[in-house]
Amino acid sequence: MRFKARVEVSLKPGHSDPEGETTARALRELNYPVKNVGVSKVYTVFFEASSKTEAEEMVDEMCRRLLANPTKDDYKFEVEEIE
């Protein structure tokens, strides 16, 4: 079975986000009433697994091992089966 996962990695609350802060400031300079900007990274992963459960477990492990650093990152993902 073939799957597609959309993984979003973002900073945990409480960790400073210099990229988001700089972007927020720029948007304010463009006259938008922006309070905060959070920056996330999105990965789209195409892979094979024998079931949806296995696919989800696999993506969770990919996040813990490589895509996120648990010290500062949160992650969430959606997995869907594709043709």
């Binding site: 400073s16 091992r65 490589l66 010290t71 500062k72």
Partner: protein, 273 residues
């Protein structure tokens, strides 16, 4: 062991860019340093066990994709984790400079409170203020004697070494920050802290602390003191002529402060093995 018998493995992959000057520093000390591509270890053409010191030099390994150092760190552990553990068990030293420090943290080798951790216990996050920062900074040796890379540096003395990075802000998980710092201090794993010229702590103040690092942390070692990771580049402060003000100095010294780090580890190797 004799100095000339010491073999140093300076590893590189695409994006590594401080391997040549790191080799030059070791060459000057009379040891045998080689620049080895990671693929040579993967394909078994070179064996990690044949070397006495492993160095992850600075650069942007694998384009700094995902997070700086993350890709190489995980790849290394997945393929050569066992060899690395054997290397460390023999108390052979490992040095990670800049990107090398990021690799050691991402690999769970540093801080390594209880050996190599499965997931990273710290991170080198995006600088605050944001952006790439290349400047000379002052760092203070805070180690009380455990780290084999600072044995020739008197405790509390100040070194002048440059940094050049955009992801160098050392952080612990927020909720365990205080506990982990206490553990780091207790275990004598804190090695270098950013400071002012007179040795006063930077206290997070830019530019003395160039990246917003927690507790002004610039370098730490593992629990056995044989693995050092640091953001500053000692290989760029090895010779006197690398100093930013060397043309204005009345007398240019032959060597600069970075040499002490290389000398310390070579001294360790000659005494230990």
């Amino acid at each position: 062991m004799k100095r000339e018998a010491i073999r140093v493995c300076i590893l590189r992959v695409g994006g590594t860019n401080c391997d040549a000057e790191t080799k030059r520093a070791f060459d000057d000390l009379g040891v045998k340093a080689e620049i080895i591509h990671f693929n040579e270890l993967l394909r078994g053409r070179k064996q990690l066990a044949d070397y006495d010191l492993l160095v992850f030099p600075g650069g942007f390994s694998f384009g700094d994709y995902v997070r700086a150092g993350a890709i190489w760190a995980k790849w290394f552990i997945a393929k050569l984790g066992k060899n690395l553990e054997e290397f460390m068990d023999q108390e052979k030293p490992i040095l990670g400079i800049c990107n090398g420090f990021q690799i050691l943290v991402e690999a769970g080798i540093l801080p390594g409170f209880e050996g190599i951790s499965k997931y990273p216990e710290a991170a080198l996050a995006t600088n605050v203020p944001p952006g790439y920062n290349c400047r000379w900074v002052y760092v203070k040796n805070e180690n009380r004697g455990k780290c084999v890379f600072t044995s020739k540096i008197p405790e509390k003395s100040v070194l002048r070494i440059p940094v050049a990075h955009s992801e160098g802000r050392f952080v612990f998980p927020k909720e365990r920050e205080k506990n982990l710092l206490e553990r780091l201090l207790e275990n004598d794993q804190l090695v270098l802290r950013y400071c002012h010229k007179n040795g006063e702590p930077a206290e997070g103040e830019y530019p003395a602390n160039p990246n917003g690092s927690f507790y002004d942390i610039a370098g730490i070692c593992n629990s056995t003191g044989t693995v050092l990771g640091l953001m500053p580049h000692p290989e760029r402060a090895y010779y006197g002529w690398q100093l930013p003000d060397w043309t204005r100095l009345k007398k240019v010294p032959n060597y600069a402060d970075g040499k002490l780090i290389f000398e310390s580890v070579i001294d360790y190797l000659t005494r230990k093995f």
